[in-house]
Amino acid sequence: MSATLVETAPASEIEAEEDRRSQLPRVIARPSVIGVAIVASFTQGLGVYWDIAHHIDIGRDTFFTTPHMFILTGMALFGLAIVFGLGHNHELEKHGYTLRPALIAAGLGVVVQFVSLAFIDNWWHAAYGIDTTLWSPPHLLAIFGGTIAQFGLIAGASAELRSRAMTRAGYVLLTLLVSGLCLSVMIVLAEYEFGIPQFRLVYQPIVLTGIAVALLALSKRILDYRFAATAVAGIFTLLRVLTWGELGAMGRTVPAVPLIIITALAIDLSSNLSESRPPWLAPVLGVIAGAITLASQMIIFPIEAKLWFLGWAGWTWPVVVSAAIPALVISALTFTGGWWLGGRVEASRPLPYQAKTEAKPRLATGS
């Protein structure tokens, strides 16, 4: 339909339309919102890995440990960014548009995360012990809350940035935000990466491939530039290596870093081949991406185990063979899901908004 618009609308009207959109007040695309959110998500990611290492080497001696403070600071900063965003959104609504649903979802995510970590998790520890598993309900709820928060903000940021001409800076900011999401979601695998699994070993290849290909497909479609997935995987890897450096410098146990950049490169190259992107392409790419992810870890984990103060020794063949079929099936499904959802985010724009006392939105003429 955009193509129809280009064919039928006079160039001057299109330019005028773009001018109007570019003059809408900024909501998320401000340093106080997107900049703070990026810093917040990286701070939280660092804090969580530090916290797990602290639990392994020292224990959960008190709630007020330094890594806990990093996590809470990151959460507070993210919440603050959303509050700023909601404030600026009020200005946007005066112009007939809103990003409220995305910002509210993001805010609810932070609330879920905070309630889970500050209250439910403490209660759970009191009931079940000081150190439970990372996969305890409160921990999973907190990770999910963080995912909601970041996904909401990404959806809002993408919609806003694309409602005007997307700039290079816009792509960079969105890429950083998506990388923060990857960092947060991949935390679910931390127990395995630190070499202290508490569930069956076969779950790791299945969960890792399922999550990694979903995130990379999502990244590729949201960002939609030539090497988008590779850029996200590169930043993710850099952040994880920096975390490793920080923990290593403190003499803490360090986690293995999963190798997802090869998968990302494969996704970028293969999806760039076809402009049409037929429906069968996503599950096929999912299986290929899953297989590459499995193979990559078989190569990198033993190397990491030799080089670093590392817990994980790498996957054994029996584990990988047992996990391969479910991992590839799940990869096909999650890749397709990520691909579809990323496409929806990429196509999102600010919603028309009509205040109770105001006229109809300026840009949507109504049908």
């Binding site: 339909m1 150190d131 909601i148 103060f309 724009r349």
Partner: protein, 236 residues
Amino acid sequence: MRRAAAIVAALILSVLISPTALAHDPNEPNIDPWYGEGILWSHPFVGAPVKTVHVTLSQPPSAGVPVKMTIKTADGFDATDSWMYGVLRTGCDYQRDCPYHGISQSGRTLKEGRLIVPLSEPDRDFSFSMTFPTADHYWGGMRIINGGEYLFLNLHIDVTDIPIGTGPVEADLPASIAGRTMPLVAGSQRPPSWLKPIAYFVLALLILAAGYALIRIPVKMSKAQRTDDTDEVAST
């Protein structure tokens, strides 16, 4: 109709997820509280079901001399899904970050005192070499994943005695068969057995419901864009 199908699917998925998450947790009734703390220490509760493991040191332990430890069961550990990790170190009480000496595991660059051991084939046992840095008492805890079982094994090795002879040292030790439930805070009561399955069920439902609601946002926002485009075309 689609919404009803989605709700039914969510319920089925949640029911499936809950027992999967609890696969390692037998929720044994009438178990005494756990004690101790720290992710690597293994403090089995009194009265937990046990499995006998056979522990062998290739020679009497002494400071500075590598010794090989083997941990095995009568029927061997699970060939596909087995893993062992833990700590073995001196003095300093559980989990406190105070000065201590810990064993160093051969062939690995782990933090002092830490152990990570994959399954050894074809004997399906855990076998590794380590060195005790000083003549002292070493305490440790091992956690062993053995398929669907999660075993906790406590070790105490006395390296202060002057070794007598050079033969292997062997012992049969009880390893507690446990769920993921970690030590209870001292004095607290064990939570009811229904709490954990309900918690996982509610979590799964919440994630599915919130996930669905979250997906609606970009779907709605992308539809708004398409409507916007259509309107713009119509207006031209």
